[in-house]
């Protein structure tokens, strides 16, 4: 390697390193602050590393904030939407991709239109409707309106169309039912697409702020982002508690990301397509 090449390599690593430090900094600070005693957090001048390491904030958060409730709501909301939507998305996608019926193209155009509508426009009428139904501040209100997703249908349809047509013909000649064909043959072949869509739905809902903010009005129903954001509005001074809460709230997705990077990157790329 020539000297010029070596300098170039060093410059590349320097740039990569600076970017990594800038991007990781808030995460590192968050974890380290959560590990400080509250008295040390408010000491001036602030420092990055704790002088006394303590798990107090991680212990106290469960009693200072209804944190277990937020966490449970996040799990119910995010997994509820994800599982329901995966089921209905894949059923609809199967019909569009592999069944012949009248009105197929017309209905599919509707899906494409739904894909282009920004959520902010539906938010107000949805709230009024769910309010009339008595669904505000319930799991049903949080989950059911998201039980299907135009993007999920669109994406899975594209994938199902790519599977060889002989599969269905062979199965139909064998006399297997459509349901069996769907559940036993098509779905197992679509595992990678389903996994990416799973990540997409889970992340979108676990991280969402606005929808839960609108549809819930009691603290007991709030998922983590809305719960912590509103808690912060009322108790700005509890830095240790909130950084510990933020750490725990971010941990599941960060850990999942580190173990299944491929599906995350694919699932996140979908987010871009959707917006």
């Amino acid at each position: 390697m020539g000297a010029k090449m070596k300098i170039w390599r060093a410059a590349q690593y320097a740039l990569l390193g600076v970017a990594a430090v800038v991007i990781a900094f808030p995460f590192v600070w968050m974890v380290l602050t959560a590990l400080k005693p509250e008295s040390e957090i408010v000491t001036f001048p602030p420092s990055l590393l704790p002088k006394h390491w303590t798990f107090d904030s991680f212990v106290h958060i469960w009693s200072r904030v209804p944190f277990l409730m937020f966490f449970k709501n996040s799990v119910v909301f995010a997994f509820g939407v994800t599982l329901l939507s995966l089921l209905f998305d894949s059923m609809a996608a199967y019909a569009f991709a592999r069944l012949k019926f009248r009105g197929r193209n017309g209905l599919f155009v509707l899906i494409l239109i739904a894909l282009m509508l920004p959520v902010q426009v539906t938010m107000i009428p949805l709230f009024i409707m769910l309010n009339d139904w008595g669904w505000v501040d319930t799991y049903a209100g949080l989950i059911i309106p998201r039980a299907t997703n135009a993007f999920g249908i669109f994406m899975l349809r594209q994938f199902f169309i790519g599977l060889p047509g002989e599969l269905d013909e062979a199965a139909r000649i064998d006399g297997s039912s459509e349901l069996r064909l769907f559940a036993r043959i098509i779905l197992p072949l679509a595992k990678p697409a389903i996994a990416s869509l799973f990540v997409f739905h889970l992340m979108y809902n676990w991280n969402d702020l606005m929808w839960p903010l609108i549809i819930t009005n009691s603290q007991a129903m709030r998922p983590l982002p809305a719960g912590l954001a509103l808690f912060m509005g009322q108790h700005v001074v509890e830095y240790g508690i909130l950084t510990a809460g933020a750490t725990i709230a971010l941990a599941p997705l960060v850990i999942a990301f580190l173990t299944a990077q491929k599906y995350f990157i694919q699932g996140v790329a979908f987010t871009g397509l959707k917006e």
């Binding site: 740039l15 600070w29 197929r104 933020a246």
Partner: protein
């Protein structure tokens, strides 16, 4: 006889497929009708009525909501601020993402680690990480404010200053979006055939020459995609504004979606908020049309 049976069974199979399709589509189509299409229509209806959650009368308003909207200086302020936000966030996050994607496209050891780090903000809830950022920028306890003060850069009153709150919100958005754009751009870069670079090299093109004559033209589609998704996402910014500043101080960080939220869900004037939502819808729709036009244009040239 044989053909008749096969035709019969074919017909039967088609009937069966039709029945199955009804069953398979029913949940999704019902949900979309109830929770997407009906609300869209209702939203348009609302925008032409005085509709407050506090008032059981829903009088027809004609264009009243739209005309008060156009006359509201705060609405225009928020439109301007959304535009400023977009004008800074979109180019900055795309340029930095392109730089990182180019670096990550080299054959370097340890890249997997760097890529994982760059992606962390993307998987994190914006609302939650915005809590951390607002602490970092807090003049009393914030390490970032302290560092900035040490090098004499600012008074440290980031989020409490009408001048600096918006730049702070923009900074955090760039930080959050770079990873996403980088992943998409990197995928685009990896799709460029190495032979094109070889050919350019033989023609005597240097590093910047190759970037200009090979990378940029080949990356055109990906860049356009990232550009459009970034612009539509910027038009809809809400989370970090809500968490970090609640639109303040003195409305200096309010955006269009924040305005809609505030009018609809805090002041409960839902007819008026719907008219603002339709203006946003029109803007996003216009971008989508431009996008379709551009992609078609690209295919023909």
């Amino acid at each position: 006889m044989a053909t008749l049976t096969s035709r019969n069974s074919r017909k039967k199979s088609l009937e069966r497929q039709g029945r199955t399709a009804t069953f398979f589509l029913f949940p999704s189509i019902t949900a979309l009708a109830l929770f997407v299409f009906w609300p869209i229509a209702d939203s348009l209806w609302l925008s032409f009525h005085h509709w407050s959650l506090l008032d059981p009368e829903h009088a027809f308003a004609g264009l009243d909501n739209y005309s008060s909207l156009v006359k509201d200086p705060l609405f225009w302020k928020d439109v301007r601020q959304t535009a400023v936000y977009t004008v800074f966030v979109v180019p900055l996050s795309i340029a930095l993402a392109l730089l990182l994607a180019l670096l990550c496209n080299e054959k370097l050891k340890g890249l997997a680690f760097f890529k994982a780090v760059y992606f962390l903000p993307v998987v994190s809830s914006f609302a939650i990480i915005a809590i951390v950022w607002s602490f970092l920028m807090d003049p009393d306890i914030g390490l970032l404010s302290y560092y900035f003060k040490q090098i004499g850069l600012s008074s440290g009153e980031w989020l409490r200053s009408t001048t600096w709150a918006m730049p702070a919100v923009i900074l955090v958005a760039v930080w959050k979006n770079v990873g996403f754009n980088m992943v998409i751009l990197l995928a685009g870069l990896q799709g460029i055939p190495a032979s094109l670079y070889e050919a350019a090299k033989l023609d005597g093109a240097g590093m910047f020459g190759r970037f200009r004559s090979v990378t940029l033209p080949m990356l055109r589609h990906t860049l356009l995609f990232v550009l459009i998704t970034s612009i539509t996402a910027s038009f809809q910014v809400f989370d970090q504004v809500y968490v970090m500043t609640r639109g303040g101080p003195l409305h200096s960080t309010e955006t269009i979606v924040y305005y809609i939220y505030h009018q609809g869900f805090e002041l409960l004037d839902m007819g008026y908020a719907s008219s603002a939502a339709w203006i946003l819808f029109a803007a996003v729709f216009a971008i989508t049309i431009v996008q379709l036009k551009l992609f078609r244009y690209d295919q023909t040239d």
